[in-house]
């Protein structure tokens, strides 16, 4: 089978990570290549290492050994990864993690504080993003006033605030009912389709995983299967 050559956006090379003084091995030499424009679902049971891998890719955690490279640049050589996270990555969490005291618009503006977006531009930009996720009329609502699905859509708008290259979603439908989960996944698929943004999500739900064009199955800290059957590393 001929492998189409697309630019590599991110790569995990022999990544290992253990916790609690080495008693728990979350990742055992994981290799993974993520092409630009990919829509990948990392699946696996609880404790398989999928969230750990996602956190490594997003620069939230660092490997014990191995390397994470983004656009060919090793994250280990970047020092403080906050700029990398602010500019290159957008995060969507299972528990939404919105700031409860801020309005939807202000929540979307939070990542912009660390970008070059001027103060003047932030509010209109947040309004546009909220409109794109179907929440144009909820810009002044605070998270407690929103439904779970709406909160996750605000979180998605927030993840897009700085136009990241890589969107990482950790169980984005994990706290939602089926209807809201479908709406959120339709939204993520549309964003991927329309912007070509690279999207990696972690899920244990096959229905959610089915939205992805490629699925990586993990077990016991290792990638055991990739569907379609592509090599996980070049």
């Amino acid at each position: 089978m001929e492998i189409p050559h697309t630019p590599c956006l991110a790569e995990a090379i022999a990544v290992t990570r253990s916790y609690e003084d080495g008693r728990i091995h979350a990742l055992r030499g994981v290799d993974l290549r993520i092409e630009e424009g990919d829509f990948i679902a990392i699946t696996g049971s609880s404790g398989s290492g999928k969230t750990s891998l996602l956190q490594m890719l997003g620069g939230l955690d660092t490997p014990d050994s191995g390397e994470i490279c983004v656009r060919g640049q090793a994250l280990s050589g970047m020092g403080d990864l906050s700029s990398f996270r602010a500019q290159k990555v957008g995060f969507v969490f299972q528990s939404f993690h919105l700031l409860p005291t801020l309005t939807a618009s202000e929540n979307v503006q939070v990542p912009m504080v660390e970008s070059s977006i001027s103060r003047k531009e932030r509010a209109p930009r947040a309004a546009k993003l909220l409109s794109e996720v179907g929440l144009a009329n909820r810009t002044h609502s605070r998270p407690p006033e929103l439904s779970g699905g709406e909160r996750q859509r605000v979180a998605i708008a927030r993840s897009l605030a700085n136009e990241p290259e890589l969107l990482l979603a950790d169980e984005p439908t994990g706290n939602l009912d089926r209807a809201s989960a479908t709406m959120v996944m339709e939204l993520l698929s549309r964003i991927h389709r329309e912007t070509g943004m690279t999207l990696v999500l972690v899920t244990h739900d096959p229905t959610t995983a089915a939205y992805a064009s490629r699925q990586i199955h993990m077990s016991d800290g290792m990638v055991i299967r990739s569907t379609p059957d592509l090599p996980v590393s070049p």
């Binding site: 956190q55 997003g58 939230l60 955690d61 403080d80 906050s82 700029s83 990398f84 996270r85 602010a86 500019q87 990555v89 995060f91 969490f93 528990s95 993690h97 700031l99 409860p100 005291t101 801020l102 618009s105 202000e106 503006q109 939070v110 990542p111 912009m112 504080v113 660390e114 970008s115 103060r119 932030r122 509010a123 927030r158 993840s159 700085n162």
Partner: protein, 373 residues
């Protein structure tokens, strides 16, 4: 969107804790402002007294431990009076005693026929007829405090003293005092031949340097006595020093209370917002911005606590003035400098208290923060 609304809304969410923290800081700051005001009020009152009398210098014992210095022999005044440059002098013997229902009232006595008597304005009744007359003059405030007027009498040193007159003085201290001739108080307080202040009036037109030199000369000739210019004597007065000492002690105490309460509040706040801070770090906020956010929160608590403390000090002062026995005895003068000092001090205390919580928050790893959930 900036840090300020994020911080202020956190206060709003945790209203009760914020209010209690503010109250803790405010009480400490109120005490500082009030004591500074008390010291200033006393200094001003003392200055008023000296100005009202036309006194240029005051002599009293060095290192007096009590508000009123220990007595010394009035014979010294004969020697001092003869010094070139000294126009006149007046011995003063004062004491703080319980009178009627009031725990402490200033009773003061002046050397008969000295210049000190001249500034008094009798508004009711009459002056003493002679140096030995066993009668009292009441200052206007003292008359109000004690509820006594001309024709009434007061029990002093176990003897009945009729009130012969009421006087008015621009000095608050004098206005709240009971006045008798020196000889009378000396006899009844077992201080015959003693005074505890000697007021001096210099020759008109004397240069300040010359008056200072004269004070130094007096101190040299009479070891154990302190001679200070009237304009400076309030600062060296033992009461002023005592209030200043108390102010310093309360300032230190307020600093400790402020530091611990703000630090406790901020640590609680950081602990409760572990996930929130983790999210901010995850979406790219730099550690320095997290530090700034926590420090801003802590310093705002300080500013608000300081401002509230100042307002409380004004309120407490007005409350105290509602009681005539307190209002006429003390004066709390809150200077703009004291207000600024207190607010700046509270802000610094707040900011310093926020340092450790801010550093702790900024070092939080997002993945560790998420596990806290």
């Amino acid at each position: 969107m900036n840090l300020f609304p994020m911080v202020t809304r956190n206060f709003k969410v945790r209203r009760m804790r914020t209010a209690l923290t503010l109250l803790g800081i405010a009480v400490g700051m109120m005490a500082i402002v009030s004591l500074m005001g008390l010291a200033r009020g006393f200094e001003r009152g003392w200055d008023q007294t000296m100005n009202a009398r036309g006194t240029d210098a005051v002599i009293n014992r060095v290192a007096a431990g009590s508000p009123i210095p220990a007595p010394f022999s009035e014979d010294i005044s004969l020697n001092i009076r003869s010094l070139p440059g000294v126009e006149s002098s007046g011995g003063v013997l004062s004491s703080l005693i319980p009178v009627d229902h009031l725990p402490v009232v200033l009773i003061t006595s002046w050397e008969w026929e000295s210049y000190i008597w001249k500034h008094l304005r009798i508004i009711e009744g009459r002056m003493h007829k002679h140096r030995e007359e066993q009668a009292i003059l009441l200052g206007k405030s003292a008359s109000q405090m004690l509820g006594k007027g001309v024709g009434d009498s007061l029990l002093l040193y176990g003897l009945e003293f009729p009130v012969c007159g009421i006087y008015e003085s621009t000095s608050m201290i004098e206005s709240g005092a009971i006045l008798v001739p020196l000889d009378v108080l000396q006899r009844h307080s077992d201080n015959t031949g003693k005074i505890n202040f000697l007021n001096l009036r210099f020759n008109p037109g004397m240069e300040k340097a010359a008056t200072r030199a004269l004070c130094e000369e007096i101190e040299k000739k009479h070891p154990g006595l302190s001679a200070s210019l009237a304009s400076e004597s309030a600062q060296s007065n033992s009461t002023t020093k005592a209030v200043r000492g108390m102010t310093l002690a309360v300032t230190l105490l307020a600093m400790i209370v402020g530091l611990t309460s703000v630090m406790n509040t901020m640590l609680m706040s950081v602990f409760e917002r572990t996930v929130e801070i983790g999210v901010l770090r995850a979406i790219g906020w730099k550690a320095s911005r997290i530090r700034r956010m926590i420090l801003l929160e802590a310093s705002l608590l300080g500013v608000a606590g300081g401002a509230l403390g100042v307002l409380l000090a004004f309120a407490v002062r007005e409350l105290l003035y509602l009681f005539p026995s307190i209002g006429s005895a003390i004066r709390i003068e809150i200077a703009p400098g004291a207000v600024i000092f207190t607010i700046v001090f509270a802000t610094v205390v707040g900011t310093v208290s926020g340092l450790y919580p801010a550093i702790r928050a900024s070092r939080m790893k997002p993945t560790v923060a998420f596990r806290h959930q």
